[in-house]
């Protein structure tokens, strides 16, 4: 893309058609193929692409930020998460006698935006830990039993693993709580 990344956000926020077009040509195919491979169709992928751009614009409007990584990775993760969110929602709608509440679109977009921000914050903080902690926590969150972690990573006892994981998770918890963004997106 010829547009420098630092200008890209600002131009996007101002509704610059050229920028949107470039993004569509360059980024949309990847997004579409992700969604087609995950139970979606073309219309879904267009919907997600549009919502992701709106989400990024809204975030920038409410608090101008500079990107730490690449724009395409940023957009892709927003799209990927929006689609995961949608699949999640489809799984648990309730019909029959219960009245379905029609969530207002703006409410839903807002929730999705805040969820995305939380997701980004948590990923960023996990990346700051040592490789050993990351590895341990990855196994922990995938619910691998302590005794299997002992074998896999060559520790002595369950208890050593449990203690080590607790330390890592404490560090992670502390990092998250310390970040000012966490206080903005946690419930009152």
């Amino acid at each position: 893309m010829l547009i420098p990344e630092k200008d890209l956000l600002e131009r996007l926020v101002n509704g610059d058609k050229k920028v949107i077009q470039d993004l569509y040509i360059k980024e949309f195919p990847k997004i579409k193929s992700f969604i087609l491979n995950n139970n979606g169709n073309e219309a879904d992928s267009e919907d997600v692409f549009q919502k992701a751009l709106m989400q990024i614009i809204a975030r920038y409007k409410s608090n101008a930020f500079t990107l730490k990584g690449s724009f395409d990775g940023f957009l892709y993760s927003a799209c990927r998460n929006l689609w995961r969110r949608e699949l999640n929602k489809q799984k648990r709608i309730v019909t029959n006698d219960e009245v379905i509440e029609h969530a207002k679109e703006a409410d839903d977009l807002t929730m999705a935006t805040l969820e995305q921000e939380k997701w980004e914050l948590f990923q960023e903080k996990l990346a700051e830990l040592s490789d050993n902690c990351k590895q341990l926590l990855q196994l922990f969150f995938q619910k691998v039993p302590y005794k299997d972690i002992v074998v896999k990573l060559g520790y002595n006892t369950d208890n050593v693993v449990r203690q080590r994981i607790f330390n890592c998770k404490s560090q992670l918890t502390k990092l998250i709580k310390k970040d000012s963004r966490y206080n903005q997106i946690k419930e009152l």
Partner: protein
């Protein structure tokens, strides 16, 4: 380095005795700090597990940040940005050169053939139009890879694919009665099965349910209703619903609706 109470781990992993668990839950009722800590640890589990999506409580909409975001999403500025993005999507859609190009080419030539035949016979063949627009391949599968799929749904989809529509509708009906959590795609499958059986009222009610469901699929309801009227050869109702679809270029199948409207007139 204690930055959260370790008993939360025991609680979440089910490593508490019944009495410990009860005591912990009693504490949760009064100890706000503890319940906040629990929420954070639960969020971490969900996000890092990378299987489920963390859907926030509606309470979060009351935060200052949420109010700010929401007022943006509701603004006219957001509306106009949204239509700019949609414009770009629809303008570029036709010129994309990936593999769907060939399918579109084939679909276009079928459309041309149908249009030609319309001119030749000077009579709108609704059945053929229905066949050219229904696109069964566009409906996402009910069977999700790597996840537990409801056995009833799996069987029903199979019946549908084998064109055993009567049996399929019976199974979908049982599914709708028995399950509390309904996959919205099942309405599409069931609705089309009813259309194939020429039971149009039943079909319509399925798409009504789809339209009322609070999901991404809901926006497809009008298009499927249009297909029913097409199959029924109910020109007035067909026109009515197509008009609704073409009233906003954001609507699902906007282009197709425009095309179809031109063809039947």
């Amino acid at each position: 380095m204690k930055d959260y109470p370790i008993e939360i781990d025991d609680y979440l992993s089910g490593n508490m005795s019944t009495s410990e668990k009860e005591a912990f839950e009693t504490r949760l009722l009064t100890d706000i700090e503890l319940s906040k800590e629990l929420k954070l640890q639960k969020d971490m589990q969900k996000i890092y597990e990378d299987q489920k999506w963390l859907e926030e409580d509606k309470e979060i909409l009351k935060t200052e940040k949420a109010v700010k975001l929401k007022s943006f999403f509701e603004s006219n500025e957001a509306k106009s940005l949204k239509s700019t993005i949609d414009e770009v999507i629809s303008e570029n859609r036709a010129t994309s050169t990936d593999k769907t190009f060939w399918f579109m080419g084939i679909a276009a030539s079928i459309a041309v053939l149908i249009t030609v035949s319309l001119f030749v016979f000077k009579d709108t063949n609704y059945d053929e139009l229905y066949a050219s627009y229904v696109h069964l391949d566009e409906i996402p599968s009910l069977v999700t890879r790597g996840e537990d799929t409801n056995k009833m749904l799996e069987d029903a989809q199979l019946l549908f694919e084998e064109q055993k529509y009567q049996k399929a509708t019976e199974l979908f009906t049982t599914y709708h009665q028995k399950e509390k959590s309904i996959d919205p795609l099942s309405y599409i499958y069931n609705g089309i099965s009813y259309v194939e059986l020429n039971k149009f009222d039943e079909a319509l009610s399925q798409f009504q349910l789809l339209g009322d469901s609070n999901t991404l699929q809901a926006k497809k309801a009008n298009w499927y209703k249009a297909l029913i009227y097409l199959k029924q050869e109910d020109k007035n109702k067909l026109k009515e619903i197509l008009q609704i679809i073409v009233s906003d270029s954001d609507n699902y199948k906007y282009q197709n609706a425009k095309e179809l409207l031109a063809k039947i007139d």
